[in-house]
Structure formats: C-alpha cells, structure tokens
C-alpha cells in the first residue's frame, strides 16, 4: 500500500504557483493550472502543429513528385529559375520576428508587461512586412513571367507560397488578438497561455519557411 501511495503522490514543484485548490483529499491542495508546458492548451497546440506540419510536408512532397514525374528541365516551359535576392531578404525579415516573439514570451514569464507588448509589436511589424513583400512585390514580379494557371509548376509555386502566406495571416491575426489583451493587462506571470500558444504557432510558421525556401527557391538550382 505504501508503495502505491508513493506512486500516486502529487508531482508538484513548490513556489511555481500561488493559487492552490483543495482536492478533498485530507491536507492536499494542488496548483490551479492556467499555462505552462503542462497545460491542456499547450498540448493541443503541439498536435495542431503536428497535423499542420504533415500538411506542409505532403504539399512539398507533391511538388517534388511532380518535378520528378515531369523530368528536366525544371522549372519547365522555359521558365527561369526563381530569383533569390528578394526571398533571402524576406527570410531575414521573417526570421528576425522569431526572437522578438520569443522575448515577448520570456518577458511575460518574468512578469514584464513592457517586454511582452514590445516583443509582440515588433514581431507583428516584421511579419506584416514579410507578407507585404510576398503579396505586393514577389508575386507581382513573378506573375509577369508565369501564373498559377500557366502549368503545374506555376500552380505549385503559388500554392506553396500562398499556403505559407495564409499561415502568416493567421499568425498575424492571432498576434493582434493577443496584443489587444496584452494592452488591457490580461496576462500575468502565471496566466498567459494565449501568448504561449501564439508564440509556438509563430515559431512553427517561421520554421516551415525554411522548407518553403529550400523547395521553391533553392531546389530548382540544385
């Protein structure tokens, strides 16, 4: 009996949380969980990202499937290799949003509203800049040469980059939502699951860009 009781004894670090709730077991009070790596919502976001990552992986696999079915030359139909300069600038812009969002998350973990707001705002501006560069510069420039209905290569080019851009849009919307509440002082050291989940989603969107960049912009040169 003593052994099994030990095996089911609470596993709680002290001083992590202030709010405790009595469970009704004699003398036992457990912390009320609002966030952190053990919150349900954190796990939910992990699995949402898992299924989204699968979607991206299959999309990029489909790109290479068509490329190898079609055979050289790739890009086909006399389309030139995609230019690299602007996408690399976009990469720098997007990836510099990652540390901003990370600092915002670390900020609220330390209880700093200022770092939370500043980090989120900077990340949002950088993400929005990336989006504008994609939709207003990179796409119009590409459309002069080919479009999504030109051939399967064009369909893939615009679908992969567009799908990633759509994720950036969702991330920016999430960030805007979190920022509204950050300015109203909703989050504190303990309760900031939305910040945490937004940050995880945003880092995912940034990480996926590495694969988009490799597949769409760099792989045709290899």
């Amino acid at each position: 009996m003593a052994v099994t009781e030990a095996a089911t004894a609470p596993e709680v670090e002290p001083e992590e949380h202030e709010h405790r709730v009595e469970t009704g077991l004699p003398g036992e009070a457990l912390p009320a969980r609002y966030g952190g790596a053990r919150a349900f919502g954190w796990w939910g976001m992990v699995w949402l990202i898992a299924t989204e990552a699968t979607l991206f992986a299959l999309l990029i696999a489909s790109y290479f499937y068509l490329r190898f079915r079609f055979g050289p030359p790739w890009p086909p139909d006399g389309i030139a290799n995609p230019e690299l300069a602007l996408p690399l600038v976009m990469t720098v812009v997007l990836w510099s949003s990652s540390p901003c969002v990370h600092l915002a998350e670390r900020g609220i973990q330390a209880g700093s509203q200022r770092r939370l707001r500043a980090g989120l705002a900077a990340g949002w501006v950088l993400g929005a800049t990336f989006l504008v560069l994609t939709l207003a510069v990179e796409w119009p420039r590409t459309l002069k040469e080919f479009g999504p209905t030109t051939n399967a290569y064009g369909s893939m080019f615009f679908t992969i980059t567009g799908f990633h851009a759509a994720h950036v849009v969702v991330g920016l919307a999430m960030s805007a939502w979190v920022q509204v509440w950050a300015w109203r002082g909703l989050y504190d050291r303990e309760r900031h699951l939305s910040v945490q989940n937004f940050a995880m989603y945003w880092q995912f969107v940034d990480a996926v860009w590495a694969f988009v960049l490799l597949a769409v912009y760099i792989s045709p040169r290899l």
Partner: protein, 644 residues
C-alpha cells in the same frame, strides 16, 4: 469483485460526506435546461450520444442506399434506378458509411466512454468537442443537400481524377464531395487532438500507461492516425478544388500535372482510414471480452503493441491500392512486404482474444456473440487481405467484386459488429436500462447469417469476373444466382439491424434498470451511475490496478472515500491534470462552461462552404468574417477558465 451500489450499504458518516459532495457537484456541473443548454452543451456524454445517434441515423441512410444498389443488381438487366442515380448511390454509400457512420459512431463511443474509463470529469477541450459534433452534423447535411438538386457526388468514395476533374464531371457533384470531406476533416482532426490530450493528461491518479484500458489505447491509435493521415485527404481535395474552380494544373497531365498524384494522396489517407475505422473496433472487442469471460485479457502488452504497430505500418502500405496502375516493380515489392507485415500485429490481437476466450468462462450473451462474430468475419477479411498483398493476385482481381467482398468483410467485421456488441454492452450505461437478450440474439444471428449470405458470394462473383460499380449485367454471364443470393442476404442483414433498433427504443421504456454495474465489468465506467451524472464521478478515483473494479472493492459503492484516495474536487468546474506517463496528480484545471460559440462557428463555416460551392465569393467572405467573430466570442477571456 463485489456487487453493485445497492449491495453495499454505506455507513452513516459516509452518507453524510457523500451527500454534501453530491450537492456541491450538482451545483457546479448542472448545465440547466432549455434551448441554450441544448445548443451550448459541452458535456462529453451528451455530445457522445449525439455522435452516436447521428452516426446511426446516417447508417440507416447508407443502408437504404445499399439496399437500392442490391435491388438494382438482384437480377440481370434491371432498371430499378437510373444509371446516374446508381452512380450517386454507390458513391454516397461509401462516403456515408466511412465518414458519416463509422467514424462518428466510434468517436461517439470514445467521447462517451474514454473520460469515464480513465476517471476524468470531461474531455480536455469540451468546446472543441461540441464544435467537432456540430461540424460533423453540418458537413453531413451539406453533403446530403446535394440530393435535393440531383447532384450528389457520383465518382465513388475515392473520387479518382481525371474522371473527377472539371473536364469530365463539370457539375457541382464533385465540389460537394471535396468541400464535404474538408469540413469532415476539420471535425475529425479536432476530435482526434481532443482524444490525444485527454488520454495523455486527464487520466485518474495511478492510471499509469500499462493500466490504460485497451479500448482507450484503440481510440488513441485512431486519433494519432487521424492527425497524420487526414492532411493528405485535405490537401488532395484543396488541390482538386483549385484545379476545378480556378484552372490550376496539379492533376492535368497536359500541363505538367499528374492524375496519379491524386491516387497517392488519397491512399496515403485512405489506407490509414481503414485502420481509423478498425482500431477502435478492436478496442471495443478488447473491452467486451474480459467482462464476458470473467478474466483479465491475455497478452495486454502484446495487444497494445499490436494496435500501435498496425497504426504505424498502416502508413506504409497505401500503394497496395495502386498495384495495377503501372508503378515500378521495386515499389510494388516494398509495399507488398509491408502489406504482408500488417497481418502479424493483427493476428497477435486475434490470438490474444482467442486465448482469453479459451482461458476464461465465456458467457455467451449478445455482446460476446457480436465479438465472436466480429472475429470470424474479420479473420476471413484478413485472409483475403493477405491474398491482395500478393501483387499478381491483386492485379488479377483488382476492381472486381472480390475487392467489394474483401472490404466489406474487413470493415463490417471490424466496425459494425463491434459497434453492435457495444450497443448491448454499454447501452445500459448510456440509457440506464438493459436491452432484451432474446431480441439481441435474434438480431445477432440475423445479421451474421445475412452478412455472410450477402457478401460471401461476392468473392465468387469477383473470381468469375464481375467488375465492381457496374450498373447491370447480362443474363448469360452466369452471375444472376449469386447476385440474387447477395441481395437476399442484404435484406436479412437489414432486418437484423432493425431488430436491434427496435430493442434499443423498447428498452428505454420497458428495459429493466441497469444499476451501476450490471455485468460486473472491470473498468471505471462501471464505477458510476447509469446514466452518469454530469460530473461523471462523485470522487475522482485513485487507481491501483488494471482492472480497478475487480481489484479495488471500495469502488463498488460508487464513491471511493477520500481516505482511500478518492478526490471530491468540488468548488468549481474542475478536473484533475496528471502526468502523461505515470498519471501523478499535477494540477487542478478549471473547465469551460456551456457556450453557443462552437455552434455559431459551425454555421459560419457552412456559409463559407456554400459560398465556395456556388462560387459566390462575397458570401464566402461574409462567412469568413463571421467565423472570425465566432472565434473571438469563443476565446473571449472569462474568469478562471484555462484559455487565457
């Protein structure tokens, strides 16, 4: 193994603490009545029942479609329905049985029983749960609204291109299919994530990994497959919509696309889908057998490893649906090998069930009969499955009725028979009333005989060369007698199903009261009342055994006292969060209350769906904006719940 709650008389001081706890829990967990509660409920049991009833209603619809198909094929040169209607019927029969019957009903049992079996007060994400149900209902009604216009999907459940592209099927039939499966994908992905997190994080203290009931393992394996398999179907459908609506060229071989891409993507989803439907059925069998043979399951660890291996290997066999399309021999060899391999973990489970039956004292009542029927039918389907893994045999019989026979033996075996067994095994827990045993036996034998009469002759038809999906056939081909037998069998099967439907309705009025634990089951769903209260358990139990109801006598009274480890956990909408591996208590979590926003979000997404279907883009944009408002309402911070 003591008796039910009525047997053990609680001591006076126990009645005192218990009454107080129940009074507080009632106040914390009651959802009230009325329309608001009906639309907004987040109770996993109400939602689970809705999944169950909705899935069974679609089972009836899909069954009627199959009977119309069988009537059309009952004799040579019949014209019971027109050829165009026939195409729609067999397409919607497949879509309905896979997406609108099997998956919802198995999710329904999971929704209802996973929290009960792991000792939780609700699912991890109650509102996502409600959303998953509304999306299922919305997508089902959306798909069936196509019949109103005579434009139901008509290209089979796997909707191959180029037949499904806009050159060959310009109508909106295929658009209905594509949008419908994307909506269903949202529903089942949300549900799957909910199951995974619930099973990892909400298990009762002491329910370590090796004490999780096998049914719960089955739902976990199913959910993992959904998370990693459904994106393939979603992607395939989005790409085809882009082709059809905007003139993209993913599947257009003239412009560098490839129709085979559809087949690859579809079956990367489609083969795991078979196991998505089968694994929870296996889990039901493993839940029913120990109770009805009065001993713990033999080979628990091997069964769990078997389920997870099937789930894993299931991702590596999709090309065996494409053996006849002309792929390289090396590819065929690999996939053939993987397909043979699936037989091993499946057979391990079958042998474990048989060993449990032999080692125990079987009580041959309806639930166990359905499980034995499942084993017999599934083994026959498994044997023809191994035959298909051999490439030459597959190439000789592909697209024949042999395939139809095989897939019905596998799917009806592993889904329908366990589901009916579960209706008899778990029905009393859900309704509080026992089903009639005599009607149950009639139902089983009619279904078992009808099924085999309907589908065994189809093996022979396939070997004699009858292709699947044909509208009709000539009298001099020699197929008439087998087809007539098959049609008669299908109607007998239908009668057997109706007997259970009648039995269920009848039990709600005339069935004997079930009590907490009518079968002396071993898992925690029998620890609470039938039907359970909104909070599931008076005290969240501490588990010390894989068969807690057999090994922990203090559970029999329906409320483990605090000095034995039961946690009343009153003072709000609370559930316990435990560690994923060894289920140590970590924290108390405030759960959300009932809310209309999941329902609203579903309506908004249906507006988007209709807008996309009719190319009415302003409508679609309006729907997107409404969905944004719905999400804002959903996530609006309120009080203590976890979402902030």
């Amino acid at each position: 193994m003591t008796g039910t709650a009525t047997v053990t008389a609680p001591a006076p001081d126990e009645i005192e603490w218990r009454g107080e706890v129940v009074r507080r829990l009632d106040a914390d967990w009651s959802e009230g009545g009325g329309l608001g509660s009906w639309i907004g409920t987040v109770d996993h049991k109400r939602i689970g029942l809705r999944y169950l009833y909705t899935g069974l209603a679609f089972f009836a619809v899909g069954g009627i479609e199959s009977l119309l198909i069988r009537l059309q094929l009952a004799g040579p040169d019949l014209h019971v329905v027109g050829p165009e209607a026939y195409n729609q019927l067999f397409s919607m029969h497949g879509v309905t049985m896979m997406f609108l019957f099997a998956m919802p009903v198995l999710s329904g049992f999971g929704n209802y029983f996973v929290p009960l079996m792991i000792g939780a007060r609700d699912m991890a994400f109650p509102r996502l749960n409600a959303f998953g149900y509304w999306m299922l209902l919305g997508a089902g009604l959306f798909l069936y609204s196509s019949f109103l216009f005579g434009d139901a999907p008509d290209n089979g459940w796997f909707n191959y291109v180029p037949l499904g592209d806009s050159r060959y099927t310009p109508g909106i039939n295929i658009d209905y299919y594509l949008i419908g499966v994307i909506l269903l994908g949202i529903s089942s992905t949300g549900g799957a994530i909910n199951f995974i997190v619930t099973i990892l994080k909400l298990r009762a203290p002491g329910m370590t990994l090796n004490r999780i009931p096998i049914f719960v393992w089955g739902e976990l394996a199913m959910s993992l497959q959904i998370v990693f398999a459904l994106p393939a179907l979603t992607l395939a459908s989005v790409l085809l919509m882009l082709d059809r609506t905007f003139g993209f060229h993913f599947y257009d071989e003239a412009r560098g696309g490839d129709p085979l891409l559809w087949q690859h993507l579809f079956w990367v989803f489609g083969h795991p889908e078979v196991y998505i439907v089968a694994l929870p059925g296996f889990g039901i069998a493993s839940a029913i057998i120990p109770t009805w043979v009065r001993r713990p399951i033999v080979g628990y660890t091997y069964i769990v490893i078997g389920e997870l291996s099937v789930a894993l290997i299931g991702f590596g066999v999709w090309v065996h649906h494409m053996f006849a399309v002309g792929l390289p021999n090396m590819t065929l060899s690999f996939i053939s090998l993987a397909s043979f391999m699936v037989a091993i973990p499946s057979a391990i489970q079958v042998f474990a069930w048989l060993a449990t039956l032999v080692a125990g004292r079987p009580v041959l009542k309806t639930p166990l009969l359905f499980v034995i029927g499942f084993i017999v039918i599934f083994v026959i389907g498994g044997v023809t499955g191994v035959m298909f893994a051999a490439v030459p045999f597959d190439q000789a019989t592909t697209d024949s009725y042999f395939v139809v026979a095989h897939l019905h033996y596998v799917l009806v075996g592993s889904a329908v028979f366990p589901i009916f067994g579960a209706l008899y095994h778990w029905g009393p827990k859900v309704t509080g009333h026992l089903l009639d045993e005599r009607l149950g036996k009639w139902s089983f034998w009619l279904m078992f005989a009808g099924f085999n009469l309907a589908f065994f002759p189809q093996h022979l038809l396939g070997l004699y060369g009858m292709p699947r999906r044909v509208y009709t056939y000539d009298a001099d081909l020699g197929w008439s007698a087998y087809n007539l037998a098959s049609t008669i069998g299908a109607f007998i099967l239908g009668v057997g199903i109706l007997v259970t439907a009648y039995n269920w309705v009848r039990s709600r009025r005339r069935g004997a009261p079930a009590g907490n634990d009518p079968w002396r089951g071993e898992t925690l769903e029998w620890y609470t009342s039938s039907p359970p209260a909104p909070y599931n358990f008076v005290t969240v139990p501490t588990v010390r055994s894989r068969e807690p109801m057999w090994d922990q006598p203090e559970l029999a009274a329906g409320a483990q006292p605090p000095d034995a480890g039961g946690r009343p956990l009153t003072g709000g909408h609370l559930t316990l969060s435990t560690s994923p591996l060894d289920a140590r208590p970590q924290a108390v979590v405030h759960m959300p209350h009932s809310t209309p926003w999941p329902f609203f979000l579903t309506l908004a997404l249906l507006v988007v769906a209709v807008g996309v279907l009719l190319d009415a883009w302003p409508v679609a944009i309006l729907g997107v904006l409404a969905a944004g408002a719905g999400l804002a309402g959903w996530y609006w911070p309120r009080g203590q719940t976890q979402e902030t």
